[in-house]
């Protein structure tokens, strides 16, 4: 009862604090890279704070962990974490390769410094034998912190692959200690995470464990191997394609930029000279192909540009301040819309579009970052997201272009669509520009 009294003093203020926890609970990050020959590279980031809780790394107890203190206990740390992660291949345990431990190193994660514990594991697999079923069993800190989670990524790197390829990831912890992947094919065949254990949030371990011991090693089957390959990647890819389409659909600024361009893509600039009636300085294009060619040029330029900057930003080469990027995107919409009304842009449109495409790419990067990806395995998500963005754009083109082409000669199109449409877009873009430059939010402005 004594403890109750003590807590009684504070608990209400605590509860009325909304009880949101201002930190992330304990996590570890583990990357498992399967290679030819049955080896798996283990790369495990474990928070120094958590290791200290178990091993008292802070030798002088001053609350500050020095590199000397960490280094001195490195063998203890390895000795502690290693038994808490077990790999089995077709029911037989894989074993650590003697002398494969990597030198001590640390790495920063969002909530502090982590030890980089890395070694190689040999699974019982002869050189020519194919991978079959792999199980990972994760028990780190199961005794000391049931809220601890391990974020485990599986990658494969066959001979001749310059970089490893991420194939699946899973969150493990006491509510789910095991993850099963099955493998087909040699040379970095792609493991397919089975769904059998995917939806079993049972605390009892035995129910999540797979009956691997009974399963005979699967024979190599190149046909099923390539199928597996397709499925896993298309699933991963599709997810990001979907995110990319979503972003275009939700991003009014990107849509309006494209719409501004598309509206007049069925027209061409009137040549300077007397005698021709060219309202707004535009003449309708005669040929369907000429309009399509223009759109193709624009979309290609835009795509190339934004792919470039999206990749640069995603890989962390540059990260421009988002306020600038967003402001410039608004500016690009404004300029594109105004250019429909009177010619601002002297250069061929596709060149200008390329320039603005660079800016929009940074905008996409911001959106992609919000999907919470790590930088390590960006290739597939990047490709998928880019494809999604393209797909979204093409849908828009398919929607707008035929209609615009059909109406291009009419006064209705000119006076009731392009003129007011561009004007409205310009006004909206100007408001965005103001909001983003001045960093204020006008509640009544859409977008």
């Amino acid at each position: 009862m004594k403890h109750l009294r003590a807590l009684l003093l504070c608990v209400l203020a605590w509860c009325s604090a909304g009880t949101a926890w201002p930190h992330k609970p304990s996590d570890s990050y583990m990357t498992l890279t399967a290679q030819d020959g049955g080896q798996v590279l283990v790369n495990w980031h474990v928070a120094l704070r958590d290791l200290d809780g178990e091993l008292s790394l802070d030798g002088n107890d001053d609350g500050r962990l020095t590199w000397g203190e960490v280094r001195a206990r490195w063998a203890d740390m390895l000795g502690y974490v290693r038994p808490h992660m077990r790999l089995t291949h077709a029911g037989v345990a894989c074993t650590a390769v003697a002398g494969s431990d990597q030198a001590p190193a640390v790495i920063a994660h969002t909530d502090g410094q982590y030890a980089v514990l890395a070694w190689t594991v040999q699974c019982p697999l002869s050189a020519a034998q194919p991978w079959s079923d792999l199980d990972v069993d994760y028990r780190l800190f199961a005794l000391s912190d049931p809220t601890h989670r391990g974020i485990v990524r599986w990658r494969v790197q066959g001979a001749g692959m310059a970089t490893a390829r991420e194939v699946s990831s899973v969150v493990l912890g006491v509510t789910r200690t095991q993850h099963h992947v099955s493998w087909t094919g040699l040379q970095g065949g792609v493991p397919l995470s089975t769904q059998a254990d995917a939806a079993s949030p049972v605390s009892n371990i035995s129910t999540t464990s797979m009956s691997t011991s009974a399963a005979p090693p699967r024979t190599a089957d190149s046909a099923s191997g390539s199928e597996t390959h397709g499925e896993t990647h298309s699933a991963l890819l599709l997810r990001y394609v979907h995110d990319g389409v979503d972003h275009i659909a939700a991003g009014m600024d990107h849509i309006l930029f494209l719409v501004s361009l598309l509206l007049v893509s069925v027209w061409r600039r009137a040549e300077a000279g007397p005698g021709m009636a060219a309202p707004l300085g535009w003449l309708p294009r005669e040929q369907w192909r000429s309009a399509l060619g223009e759109v193709l040029r624009l979309v290609t330029a835009f795509t190339l540009a934004h792919s470039l900057t999206l990749a640069l930003a995603a890989f962390g080469v540059v990260s421009p301040p988002s306020r600038w990027v967003e402001s410039l995107i608004a500016l690009s919409v404004l300029v594109a819309a105004l250019d429909n009304l009177w010619p601002l842009l002297r250069a061929p449109r596709w060149i200008v579009v390329f320039g603005f495409g660079l800016v929009h790419g940074f905008g996409f990067a911001g959106a992609m970052q919000d999907l919470g990806l790590s930088r390590q395995d960006l290739a597939w998500p990047l490709l998928g997201f880019n494809l999604g963005v393209e797909l979204g754009q093409l849908m828009l083109v398919a929607l707008v272009l035929p209609l615009a082409f059909w109406l291009r000669r009419t006064a209705l199109y000119r006076q009731a669509v392009v003129l007011p449409g561009s004007l409205a877009i310009a006004v909206l873009a100007a408001l965005w520009l103001y909001q983003r430059v001045a960093d204020v939010a006008l509640g009544w402005v859409p977008g």
Binding site: H3, A13, W14, L143, T147, V352, L373, V445
Partner: protein, 400 residues
Amino acid sequence: MQWVEARRASGLRVGLRGGVLAGLAVLLSGGMPALAAQPRVPQLDSEVVEVLRERPLSAQEKAWRALRAQARARPTDVALATQVAWQALRWARQDGDPRWLGQAQAALTPWWSQPAPPDEVRLLRATILQSTHDFDAALRDLRALVRARPDQPQAWLTLASVLQVTGQYDEAQSACNALKPAGAPWHAQACALELHSLRGDAGAADAAQRGLAELVTRAPRELSGYLNLIRAELAQRQGQPDKAAALYQAVLAAEDDAYTQGAYADLLLDQGRAAEVVSLLKGRERNDALLLRLAQAYAATGDAALDRSVQALRARFAAAHERGDSVHRREEARFTLHLLKRPQDGLRLAQLNWRVQKEPADARILLEAAQAAGEPQAADAVRAFMRRWGWSDKRLEAWL
């Protein structure tokens, strides 16, 4: 044609250079490259690689580690296990680090999945569950507890708090009332007064404020912090920011806890005193909620540190998502609305949050986000809730 030519001659020429340069400007002046974290090997043994805590390991913490070892050796000893868990919970509140909650839960492992564990374990379990926003499970435990042990004030108090946070005021009222016979008269009064201020009109709020001011003079000294915190929040709702500021300062002078700092920072941000927020919260960046306020202050003062803070917050929310957490929706909604400037996404988060929590701060973020997204009707649930209970808040009037 005439006017077209004229425009062409005098018009702004953005042209090739303009477009490409705009892109390149961003590319080149793009601030600092975002450093992707890479493993590194420190050069000197003396380099501090991690600050575990701002103070040396206390004798209390050492004793706790020894106790934990004992408890692990005797896994059926309830008294030992609950002792370990209570201490971990106290530190959880003090440090705001949920790792302590994990430690507390670990101590209770043998009983954790039991439908009806021993009373004290059940109380601890409820406290841990409500901390991770599993309010329904927490309420199940607490209701069962007060039925079995109506003489336990802690269970009533925690029950009242969870009910208040989730907006179930009628039942919260009965829990408050039960505190007095359970032997916690001061808490009973404070609990009732705060509820009263949420349930009545402006007049009720004034009366509650007077009642609390009087209570703080009579109640034991160690309750002052908690009472003044209630008073400060109430004063803010009443539209008396100066009074609220003084009360927050009084609380902070006695105890430097993260929640009060965050609340005070919010008040300062509302008052346009962002520079003070920076000096208040600098150095507290490890705490996500405080980093959020700091970033808002940087945004308001045009500080160059803004981008770095936004990146850090983005990464932290991403890390939380990666492990499957959605506990921080209120904070994430604020981040998304005010710093990422994505009102639609912010609105979605604020709506999800409102389903779980119904405190003034939750009402505010939903109203703000709905307004910014141009869908004021999306916050009608808040308006209905406030109308139903008569709850008034001067800060929210602009959006109602």
